[in-house]
Assembly symmetry: C2
Homo-oligomer: 246 residues x 2
């Protein structure tokens, strides 16, 4: 037996309870679009991102701290909020030195579950911060659980493909006995050279592109290292990790 830390992949929030998080770095993965947007905002200089699970909370918190309340419901900026869930909205000109109060559904819920299960460390990951996440995991030398947010507890391929991308890059540093991880890496290896061309096959693509026209969002969310920072959760906020940061 080797002494490498373990790595597991949880394919849905409904499966997260199967893994021991208390000694693990948990990577929250919600590629379309929460964790892509979080990376984008922090990369462009946001002070922090406060993830909340409802529109009223986003309004209340943003008012009390002078933050920017953002979130969508059914592809539209939610009533009472001023900004949406697109990573492309959070340019440096707009978000630098601001606090983003972001309400999402799948990603926020998964993050709360990881907190409730006493995760050792929580970070967020998506293709725009793939390399930074991988460097962080290798440096930490702790067990890892890659947590896919999915869509209303359903498995989705974009989160799984990101898990596979991480595994593809870090696997030598970890002990991996997990069919989910084997599958994720196999799927990633198959599509890694044409992931944006593969996107129209994803269930979620239809919602985002055919209903809401968000093709540029999709391209951003599936592109490597455009916002290459590590968002770490601490005291209710996602902040830049200083040790691996910019």
């Amino acid at each position: 037996m080797d002494n490498k830390p373990s790595l597991y992949t949880s394919l849905s929030p409904a499966l997260l309870h199967l893994y021991d998080l208390s000694s693990s770095v948990v990577v929250i993965i919600d590629v379309f679009r929460a964790t892509s947007t979080i990376a984008s905002a922090l990369y462009n200089g946001a002070k922090c991102v406060i993830p909340v699970d409802s529109v009223p909370k986003a309004i209340e918190i943003s008012k009390s701290i002078g933050g920017i309340a953002a979130g969508e419901r059914d592809g539209q900026i939610a009533a009472g909020l001023s900004h949406g869930n697109s990573p492309l909205e959070y340019t440096r000109e707009f978000i630098e030195d601001q606090t983003l109060v972001l309400t999402t559904t799948n990603g926020t819920r998964l993050l709360q579950m990881a907190l409730d299960k006493n995760a050792d460390t929580i970070i967020s990951g998506s293709f725009p911060n793939l390399s930074a996440v991988c460097d962080f995991l290798i440096n930490e030398k702790k067990n890892v659980v890659l947590g896919c947010a999915g869509w209303k507890d359903r498995f989705n391929l974009e989160d799984t493909l990101f898990a596979g991308a991480v595994i593809n890059r870090v696997k030598k540093e970890f002990t991996i006995h997990c069919d989910s991880s084997l599958m994720a890496e196999t799927m990633y290896a198959k599509y890694k050279n044409n992931i944006i061309r593969f996107a129209p096959q994803l269930t979620h693509y239809h919602r985002l592109v055919e209903r809401f026209g968000l093709i540029e969002d999709i391209k951003y969310c599936l592109s490597n290292d455009l916002a290459n920072v590590v968002p770490v959760y601490s005291d209710g906020k996602l902040v830049l990790n200083k040790s691996v940061g910019q």
Copy 2:
């Protein structure tokens, strides 16, 4: 929109609640080894298979009806039972005209969940009855949920590969908007020509082969159409489906 029935794949019992079973044929999939053994016993002339969730129940029921009580715990025939979970035990000489009372964990639990959710029809599937299952699904023209039993709620690849094998053969007859199904078929397409050679990569292989030496079981469970019947659940028993039967 077309009017084909829908097909979804549930990758774990913990995800089954996401699907509407009341208008669906649910295929219980527990490749290693419950649903392979059920196909084997019925193919070889068992009167029926009664799936139960505990060893005491298996003993009690088999005594009251003069059946054969079978089941394993930790790879050994369970105390009080006379036979195990291997599909190779259930030859025609042994099982013809007998009732098999089989206690399994993952497969039986999934079957009970499908019953509790009022599944329209419940059948069981594994590689030894792949073609019969596909013919049944095509003939029924109903919605389908492929239910992977997994291992203690964890995703496993052998059940997913069987789901992919079914999808590969029936997909023209169904509307499939489901990332789980797309993934399952993609994984199956990659390994279909050397599935037994791929088996050593499966988490479950290590338990069955390295700990318990069950390589012949593995080969049987991954071979197509060696026991090509459709076990249908009715009144507490799995019986041969007469309309597609032998």
